[in-house]
């Protein structure tokens, strides 16, 4: 482990009324790692993502990003610090074109003011052109540029997933959180997605935290895995360790593993 970790979650937790959705969450992500977060339904995986991105404010503990405390920051500020995410249920801007979806992510990188846009000053044209060029270049990386004028809602499901990842990357993150990117995909699409994740990770020098139910994908790409159950961290380790961890088998892989062993 060289110097300090990119993301450090210390005993973070959140309580909704009497329900402790997540408690004592401890995560450490080093630069460049690809880490999985798994757990049965309702284990608190997405809640953890919401804690990391500022959607929820943790009721206990601390979240440090690059050594800086980010709990309590509003989501857009967290994004500007360099954490961006995709959603479990796709949340594209349906009535915007594919190009505009990516432009939204470039929004905070452009600087021209409302006044300059209203008066159509040179800085407006310069800024807009820059956004457009960058966005198109970006879509090319994801091979989505052929759809650029299509409304996002008209894209096929797999492409919508890709667009969501592209959009999250356009926001310029250091840490990318992917919430079940392979949900609803067939094996071929899942494989393409795995390749895509490996590709963007190298290309953009990213650290990735991945929630996934597809064990092939998780075991295949992740270097380390955290297991959550009932809002508690159950285990941590390499895919191999997790596969053989008795608690994990009990809580999560239970039946399947018995079948395999039988």
């Amino acid at each position: 482990m060289e110097n300090k970790p990119l993301l450090e979650v210390k005993n973070a937790g959140i309580q909704f009324g009497g329900l402790k959705a997540v408690s004592n969450l401890n995560l450490v992500l080093n630069k460049g790692e690809l880490v999985g977060l798994i757990g049965p339904n309702g284990a608190g995986k997405t809640t953890s993502f919401n804690l990391l991105t500022g959607v929820y404010v943790p009721t206990e503990g601390d979240i440090l990003f690059n050594g800086e405390r980010i709990n309590g920051l509003q989501p857009f500020k967290v994004t500007r610090k360099g954490i961006s995410r995709t959603f479990q249920n796709i949340r594209l801007f349906n009535e915007l074109s594919v190009l505009d979806n990516v432009k939204v992510a470039y929004h905070s990188l452009a600087k021209h003011s409302i006044m300059s846009s209203v008066l159509r000053l040179p800085s407006h044209f310069k800024g807009e052109q820059e956004m457009e060029q960058k966005s198109i270049e970006f879509l090319k990386i994801f091979k989505l540029d052929i759809y650029k004028d299509e409304l996002a809602k008209n894209l096929p499901y797999g492409q919508q997933r890709r667009l969501e990842i592209a959009r999250a990357l356009a926001a310029g993150p250091k840490l990318l959180l992917l919430d079940e990117p392979a949900a609803g995909m067939n094996p071929q699409e899942t494989k393409d997605l795995m390749d895509l994740i490996a590709f963007i990770r190298n290309k953009f020098d990213l650290t990735i935290l991945l929630i996934e139910h597809d064990m092939n994908l998780v075991m295949g790409v992740c270097e380390r895995i955290y297991v959550l159950d009932h809002g508690q961290l159950l285990a941590e380790g390499s895919p191999e360790e997790i596969r053989n961890h008795p608690k994990v088998i009990e809580a999560y892989l239970g039946e399947e593993v018995h079948d395999v062993n039988a």
Binding site: T53, V55, Q74, P75, F76, T79, R80, S84, R85, F87, R91, L92, F93, N94, E95, L96, D100, K103, V104, A105, Y106, H107, S108, A110, H112, I114, S117, V118, L119, R120, H124, F125, G127, E128, Q129, M131, D149, E150, L151, K153, N154, R167, A168, A171
Partner: protein
């Protein structure tokens, strides 16, 4: 860029429309009734387009627009009648004060969503109306005398400025950010958009132009009364936007023209007026459930003709 190519045709069309109408008025070929209707149409378009920015673009369901209309109307009337300032100053100050009122109302209430925001804005608009009702200096319920200063020139210039500002705002990164708030607020937030900022800004710009419309409105009649700015007025403006198609600027403009003309003509039949007006609304909603224009703009149709292959992808 491509949007600016539409700018000069738009300006030329605007100058032609203005010149023709102005010529007809100054020749006496167009009587007072028609010129008044045209001014009224211009005012209603300003109102419709300003609310379109709030509801259609930013997706914040505000139904208190008449409140900001009232602020503009009263503030400008006070400036011209009590302080004897020129009309142009009154229009500007009316807009600015309305924008400030928009900020004061918007900052707390834009935390709310959907129905709750609608009720909050409705409540604020009623508060504004009741404040004017209880200030004796502006005549209370009896109303305030205002001299007739609104001319076709004032109305039309204000209309063109409103359209330019709102179109330019919409076709920029700020407009896309506002639309992203409408489309999915959580995702917009996650993409680094300061959603509160854009909601408040859209609300303030919308209020500003409602205030400008208010100044034109009050100086178009000889008297203003708080009862003219009740929630029914808010609904009238809302109907322009919804009927035109949420998210379509040209739809808002078209429906403002259509409904103003319909309701002006129906003034001759006071017994059946509201029945026919309501029937028009019901029919449009039955046959065009997404509004007259849906989410399309007039310019989209031109594009359709020019590039047939790209057109159909727009969907409904």
């Amino acid at each position: 860029m491509k949007k600016s190519k539409q700018f000069w045709p738009f300006m030329i069309a605007a100058v032609v429309v203005y010149a023709v109408v102005q010529l007809l008025i100054s020749n006496g070929m167009m009587n007072q009734f028609y010129s008044n209707t045209l001014i009224f149409i211009a005012i209603n378009i300003i109102l419709a387009v300003s609310l379109h920015l709030v509801i259609g673009i930013t997706g914040q369901f505000s139904i208190g627009h008449a409140g900001f209309l009232a602020v503009g109307a009263y503030i400008s009337a006070i400036l011209t009648m009590k302080l004897h300032l020129p009309f142009i100053v009154a229009i500007l100050v009316g807009g600015i004060v309305a924008a400030l009122a928009g900020l004061i109302v918007g900052i707390p209430s834009l935390r709310l969503k959907g129905d709750y925001l609608a009720i909050a804005t409705l409540g604020f608009a009623e508060i504004i109306r009741i404040v004017f009702l209880n200030i004796d200096a502006v005549g209370g319920a009896a109303g305030m005398q205002v001299s007739h200063l609104t001319t076709w020139t004032y109305a039309f210039v204000c209309l063109v400025i409103t359209l330019i500002v709102i179109v330019n705002f919409t076709n920029s990164r700020h407009g896309i950010a506002s639309i992203s708030v409408r489309e999915n607020e959580i995702a917009a937030d996650a993409m680094g958009i300061n959603t509160t900022y854009y909601k408040v800004i859209a609300f303030a710009i919308g209020s500003f132009f409602a205030g400008v419309a208010g100044a034109l409105y009050s100086h178009n009649f000889y008297i203003i009364q708080p009862s003219q700015f009740g929630f029914l007025k808010s609904f009238d403006i809302l109907i322009f936007v919804v009927l035109g198609g949420l998210g379509s600027l040209s739809g808002a403009v078209l429906s403002a023209i259509l409904l103003t003309v319909v309701s002006t003509y129906l003034q001759g039949y006071p017994e059946t007026r509201m029945i026919i007006y309501s029937l028009v609304l019901i029919l449009v909603m039955l046959y065009r459930p997404k509004g007259l224009m849906g989410t399309m703009e007039i310019t989209d149709y031109f594009k359709l003709w020019r590039t047939p292959k790209g057109g159909g992808q727009h969907g409904k």
